[in-house]
Symmetry: C3
Subunit: 146 residues, 3 copies
């Protein structure tokens, strides 16, 4: 089997996925860190070690989890669609632009969500959504032309 390691569309994908995965993993770990500072836990086995057992999440934890949920809901479809585009033989130029815009928009969305910055949170969410729709269009075009 040949690898895709010298395929520039794949390189663009791999770089985006490294950044987007780091974004997802950071948000998940950060939600645990923020929860730790509140000294609360939803798990009875952790309450034995000093944290207070609570049913809901404290507001600051809930915010990080909403940012994570938003990231999952948007990054996961994009990641799968991006791979379809790579495997369909998509253009490296298109990939660099569309993957790049999406990745930057999602990083900016994470910062805007954690910092409570509006209208930026909405602007970056919509930008990521438009990049995803563009990618879907480019997939269709690539498959129809092929």
């Amino acid at each position: 089997m040949q690898t895709l390691a010298s395929n520039p569309t794949f390189i663009a994908y791999a770089v985006s996925i490294l950044v987007l995965s780091a974004n997802l993993l950071f948000l998940w770990a950060y939600s645990g860190g923020v929860r730790g500072k509140t000294k609360t836990t939803p798990n009875v086995e952790d309450s034995r070690r000093g944290a207070k057992l609570v049913e809901g999440e404290p507001p600051e934890v809930a915010r990080v989890l909403r940012a994570h949920k938003n990231a999952m809901a948007n990054i996961v479809p994009f990641a799968i669609l991006g791979l379809v585009y790579v495997l369909a033989g998509g253009s490296a130029m298109v990939a660099a632009v569309v993957f790049g815009v999406f990745t930057l928009a999602r990083l900016a969305h994470t910062f805007a969500y954690l910092g409570g910055k509006q209208p930026w949170r909405t602007i970056w969410f919509v930008t990521g959504g438009l990049a995803t729709l563009a990618l879907m269009g480019f997939i269709v075009k690539t498959l129809v032309v092929a």
Copy 2:
């Protein structure tokens, strides 16, 4: 590198993923639209712009989010398993049937969940689950035969 653009198993996968991604993105965007109509928000920065700050989600938003969560929980493993099947050199005929049944079942599940239609919601959920189990079986068979 050769592309998969002329591989019929991959085409079946790509079409399914376009539909399933649209399903996921619609549910996510729709949850935001439904929340907008309730004029509520979980984010203090949005409450400054007129929406009422609430801790839980209103019931109509919670329903859309449950449908989205169910879609993520089922579509994500299927999407990754489907790609494994494509890359393992799986049969286009099997892919067309299994991917087609799963995709239609998940679309139907979304409508049944949003409309509160039972026993249809359960029927389509189980259909999607059986298609996923079938796909896992076909992956094993393809790898063992190879």
Copy 3:
């Protein structure tokens, strides 16, 4: 197109994904099973069939859903990164070790979460996270060397 069915890095990936997908699907189905035993439901259409309509989830259901959420948050990035490593032409030896450690750590995490076993839950979570970081490092190395 050549398949990857005889590529040992891909085989390691496929086996891990079969196990990890089964883990995710089990947790999701199990949350439904546990909810059934509590005779509660968040859906009004199910309450017509005997289950009691509740807003939050009973504690035993909430635990399974937290385990599922943790699994999704960790397995999904790993699954996409793992495929990038396979397609980049990554080493079968590295894949066997890193995918193997991650998969075993996540299975153990699921059991530790459902059983409320600490510090095991944290130990297996951290092990899975370190395997993911190692995989990201190996992807970078593979792409830079190529």
